[in-house]
Each structure stands twice: as C-alpha cells, then as structure tokens.
C-alpha cells in the first residue's frame, strides 16, 4: 500500500507492517507457548490530516485489534506506528501523555462506555480534570461549549446517562472525545447500535466536526454504505491482513469495481438500498477460518470462487490497480 502513497503531507498517523500475535499457552505453572493467533499480521496504512480511513471486515478480521493498538491498549508484536512522522514506540512519558490526549475514541455501545453514576457534566469534564490544569470555572464553560457543539442543551448537563436515548448518549461520547482537542479520533462502529433515523444525525455531526476542526478519523465499520458516506480512504481486511485498499479519487472505483473476490462478496452481501439493486449475488460458502491456523497461501482461498492452484501455495503480494488502489490477489499478477 505504501507504494501507492502520494507524498503530499505528513500523515497524521501511519502504520507500518503492524503485527499483533497472541500466544496460546498450555500448562498452569510452566506456561509453554504452543501456538500463535495472528490477529493482525502485517497491516500498513496512513491517515491524512482531516480525513477518514475506514477499516472494513467481518468479526475476526483484526480491525478492532488495530484500533486497540492505535489507542495503545495493546502492545504491538511487530511493526511501527508513526504519529506526525515520529515513532510512537520511541516516545517518552511526556510524549506518550500527549499522544493519548491527541488520540481519542468513540465506542460502539453508548450504554457500556459511560459510568452510570456520573452526571453528564462530569463525564465530559473527566478528561479535562485529569489532563489539564484548568480551573473549575474554565472546565464548566468548556463542558457547556462542547455540549452545544454536539447538539445537547445546557440544562442536560445535570442528568445521568440513563436519562438519554442512544443517539444522545453517542453525542455525549463525542463531546467527551473532543474535550482535549484531539487530532485523531478512533470511531469503533459509531452508529451501528443506533436506530436508523438517528444514524444520519450522528454521521452528519461527525462529518461537521471533522470539517470544523480538521480532525482525522480511524473508523471501524462493517456497513459498507456507512463507510462510503464517511470515508476518504477504505481498507478491506480479512483474517489479519488488508486485502484491498483505495483512497481519494480511486475510492469510487473501489465501490464501483471491487477487485478482490472477498471485497466483491462483501459488496454483494451488503443489503440493497433499493429492491432493484438485487444484483448478481456472490454468496460465499463457509466461514472465516481461525487465525490460529490460517490457510497456506492466500488466506481467502478456501472460500474464494476464483481460487487457482497458486493461491493455495503462495501468498499474494500487493498489486497496484490504480493510482491509489491496491489489491492483494493473484488474479491481478
């Protein structure tokens, strides 16, 4: 993917060959590692300032592990993470603290990500209390400012999370993520738990905030239509690897003409937005194999309708199919 990278400005975040392998151990006392689960196995991407990169894939693809690594909630087994061109792995304490302020998150479940015993004003104020030296008055006025920004009324500051609907809670989560003026926000399925009529509200809010502050987003999602609406760049993941990637002008090409057989299957599995869209359905057989013993060669070959002999033996390399559109598949060799 990096070959296709147009060097215009330093990406806000760059991942180079990220790896996260979890050991599978046996024995209680003398723990012996018997195998490795390759949850993320060599993922590279870059996020430009003010843009959204989406990681798309099914459960087990490794997209959440990537997000956790970016949030420093998981230690990497290999690869580098560069923030503003600087290697996060070499950061000292102060720099790490800065990084954590600069990289915030909004999670999928607005019911699970808030302390039910805290009032909304304290939830939004918490990052400010912990990370800044602002006075009480400053914090109060900042909280009200954040609430206005995400479309909450000042009188709602005294309420508890359970008094809000899902969409409003997601607004609280966004306000909390914005409190420290971050430069990158990780959005883990930000709208999939919300009702249909509320999703558009939250997506539009996230887009408005992005334009206003030049924020970058790393979004994890499975709904391709949502991804298309929100993203400037899209990486399709399968079993710990990126199988297809496109950004900028080539993004439309990815949706109109997906190259990887897995991307095609995902697109055809996506539910139609109109009954006339009932196009040729590529229904995949089987399920995603375990990352414990991934198939040899191309990981996708056991489910691939176009599998060839070479796919069973040799892992495909990254192939350029457009200016900024790459695919890992032997069909394009």
């Amino acid at each position: 993917m990096l070959e296709g990278w147009r060097v215009t400005e330093t990406p806000i975040l760059e991942a180079r060959n990220l790896k996260k392998h979890y050991p599978v151990t046996h024995g209680l006392v003398m723990q012996k590692t018997v195998a490795w689960v390759r949850a993320v196995d060599g993922v590279s991407f870059a996020i430009r300032p003010g843009e959204t990169l989406s990681l798309v894939g099914e459960s087990g693809a490794g997209k959440t592990t990537v997000a956790k690594a970016v949030l420093l909630l998981e230690e990497l087994s290999g690869g580098e993470l560069l923030f503003d061109g600087k290697d996060v792995g070499h950061f000292g304490r102060a720099e790490l603290k800065d990084y954590r302020s600069n990289v915030q998150a909004v999670f999928q479940d607005p019911w699970g990500s808030m302390n039910p015993r805290m009032r909304v004003k304290s939830i939004i104020a918490e990052p400010l209390v912990v990370n800044t030296t602002m006075t009480k008055q400053e914090i109060t006025s900042k909280v009200l400012e954040l609430m206005a920004q995400v479309g909450l009324r000042p009188d709602q500051a005294e309420l508890y999370p359970h008094e809000f609907s899902g969409g409003q809670r997601q607004r609280i989560a966004v306000a909390r993520a914005l409190a420290l003026n971050p430069r990158l926000v990780v959005l883990d399925e930000p709208v999939s738990a919300l009702d249909v009529s509320i999703r558009a509200q939250i997506m539009n809010l996230l887009k408005d905030i992005q334009t206003q502050y030049g924020l970058s987003y790393l979004m994890i999602a499975h709904n391709l239509a949502t991804v298309r609406y929100m993203s400037h760049a899209v990486a399709i993941m399968y079993l710990g690897e990126v199988v297809e990637y496109a950004d900028g002008d080539d993004l439309d090409d990815l949706f109109a003409n997906p190259r990887h057989p897995y991307t095609r299957a995902l697109m055809s599995a996506a539910l139609p937005t109109h009954p006339d869209d009932r196009t040729d359905e590529v229904v995949l057989s089987g399920e995603m194999p375990s990352p414990l013993n991934p198939p040899a060669g191309c990981h996708f070959h056991p489910r691939c309708p176009a599998a060839m002999d070479i796919c069973r033996k040799v892992a495909p390399r990254v192939i350029q199919v457009g200016d900024s559109h790459t695919v890992s598949c032997h069909l394009y060799d």
């Binding site: 099914e58 009702d195 009529s197 391709l224 298309r228 996506a270 539910l271 139609p272 937005t273 009954p275």
Partner: protein
C-alpha cells in the same frame, strides 16, 4: 393474491402494558394481512412496537404488565386471541413458528442440536424413532446445514454463530409451519454469513411455500426479502405498501425521512437528510399524529386529530393527513 381468505388477518390489534407510571400503548390498533407464501416486512425503530406486534400474534407478551386488550388475529379463519392456552400451544412451533435474534439465547446449551430440533416434532406430530430422525435431518437440510447427520450430535457451543442461527431456523421449519415470524434474525451475524442465511430462507420459502413476517429495523433486509412492507412508528402502522412502491413512492413523511436518511452503496452522497428529534415516549402520548413533533410537513390538523389510514393507491396506504388531500 386472489384467495378468498388470507392466511393471516390482523385487525385492530392492541397490546398495552400497565405500569405504575401509566399505560404504555406498545401496539395501538395494528391491522394487516398476509397470504400464503408471501413475505411481509414490519419495519420500525426500537420502541415502535414491531416486536410486540409479532409476539402478540403468538400471545407471548411479557408478563406481568403486558396484555392484549383488543383486536383479532385470524389465522386460517380462527381467531387466535379467543383460544385457550392449551389450544394456543398447538399453534406455536407447529403452524406458526418464530426465529429470534440471538441464536445463543434461543438454544439450550445442555442439549444436543438434534434433541432441540426433535422437540417440536415429538410434541406436535408425536413422531419417534426413525421417522423422527429423518424429519430432523430433513429440517437441517432445508437450512443447508452441511453433513446434518453428524451435526445432530453437536452441542450449540460447538457451532459458529451462523450455523447456530441455521439450527434455530431448522427448529422453526421442523413441523413445516404455514407462517414463520423472524424477528431480526440476522442482526447477530456477519455480512457474508447474513447473506448466506437470507438466501437459505428464500430457498426454504420456495420449497415449502411458507409465509413469512420479517421484523427488522433495516430497510436493506426488507428490500432483499419482502414482498410488502408495513412501517411502524410509536405503536401504529403509518404506511403499508409493496416494497417497490415504498422505495420509489413513499407517502408518509416518516417513511420519506427514513428512506432518505440511509446512506447508499451505489453512489456517493454528499449529505444525508436526517429526521431531527427523537421518537416519542409511549406513555401519555399527545393527541393528534404521533409523528407531528418531528414532521417537516406538519400543519394545524396534525396536532388535533389522529390521521386514519388513507389510501394512496391500490395496496398502498398511509396514515397521514397529506395523503389524498
């Protein structure tokens, strides 16, 4: 659709919950009908009453508090609401069956999958021995479960989510029902697994001519699976139409808002329209149209009188004062 009598006819169904804080009208005067082999989608947001409607058909309303206070559910001409509890039991799982959202919660972890598919057959058709197990295998085959004979010995935890949901489907079809009610059957599944499952249900319908009710919040599922759609909002059906009509020519402002607020895969949309505000609390509903506070086309009458179902064309109706006015 020329049959003299539809398979299912629901008339003015009302299911209320009596709570300390007042009466929650979860289902408030819902009517629709369904022919054999037809698929009806019931679409709505959480709290719209779509799940309570489907549970009311089988009289499985959560107790205490919930009560069906009025209406008729005519299935093959019999009003299910008038049956005794034991007569009702003969319908559940045999003539009408249900597929729920979470396959892990609808399967018993300590019984094998085969036992669980066999249970309704023993109960309703009094099968045993070879006849029973042939029928069980057939049910699993209908849902395209690979090597069904070996799979019968498995426990639910030995199967993947997609396979478990197929087993739940197998239980639902084991007695060859005339109607299957599927309540968000694929929300817990991944996209490609969801596509497989929906394709299997379609095949099943072709083979057995079973009628289906799909309860969902997702227009996409409805677009792929259903012939007709009923859109619910705050306990009422606000619009009923054929799938194509609903997408091409929605009438109710709520439906119009929903259709426009869904992002598209086939083209880049610059900005989505969104319905502002929140659905109303079902406790102490205001008079007039329930959607009025969020409606862009609201006028005086909407706040005063509740709009009845108005016909927009054949087989297309909407509960809005703007329709046909």
């Amino acid at each position: 659709m020329a049959a003299a009598q539809p398979l299912l006819q629901v008339e003015d169904l009302r299911t209320y919950f009596f709570t300390r804080r007042g009466v929650v009208k979860a289902v408030d005067g819902v009517s629709f009908s369904l022919e054999a082999g037809e698929t009806l989608g019931i679409v709505g947001e959480s709290g719209s009453g779509k799940t309570m409607t489907s549970l009311s058909l089988l009289r499985l309303i959560p107790q205490p508090g919930g009560k069906i206070v009025g209406g008729k559910v005519l299935f093959d001409g019999v009003d299910l609401l008038q049956l005794s509890e034991s007569e009702m039991r003969d319908y559940r799982g045999s003539k009408i069956s249900m597929i729920l959202q979470d396959p892990m919660a609808s399967l018993n972890p300590v019984y094998t999958v085969g036992e669980q598919v066999a249970e309704p057959l023993r109960q309703h058709q009094h099968l045993s021995g070879k006849a029973l197990w042939d029928q069980v295998t057939e049910a699993l085959r209908l849902l395209r479960i690979p090597s069904p004979r070996e799979r019968l010995q498995n426990y639910p935890h030995q199967m993947s989510g997609g396979m478990r949901q197929r087993v739940v489907g197998g239980i639902a079809v084991s007695c060859l029902p005339k109607l299957i009610i599927a309540d968000e059957p694929t929300t817990a599944l991944d996209a490609t697994i969801q596509a497989q499952y929906l394709a299997h249900l379609k095949d099943l319908q072709r083979e057995t001519n079973v009628a289906m009710i799909f309860v969902s919040h997702d227009f996409g599922i409805v677009g792929r699976m259903c012939d007709r759609v009923a859109v619910m909002y705050a306990g009422k059906i606000v619009e009923t139409a054929s799938v194509r009509d609903l997408f091409d020519n929605p009438q109710h402002p709520y439906t119009i808002g929903l259709v426009n607020s869904v992002p598209r895969l086939d083209r880049k949309v610059e900005r989505l329209a969104s319905i502002e505000g929140q659905p109303p609390q079902l406790l102490n509903l205001p008079p007039g149209c329930r959607f009025a506070p969020r409606c862009y086309a609201v006028f005086d009458r909407c706040h005063l009188e509740e709009p009845p179902e108005m016909s927009a064309s054949d087989d297309h109706s909407a509960a809005c004062w703007r329709v046909g006015a």
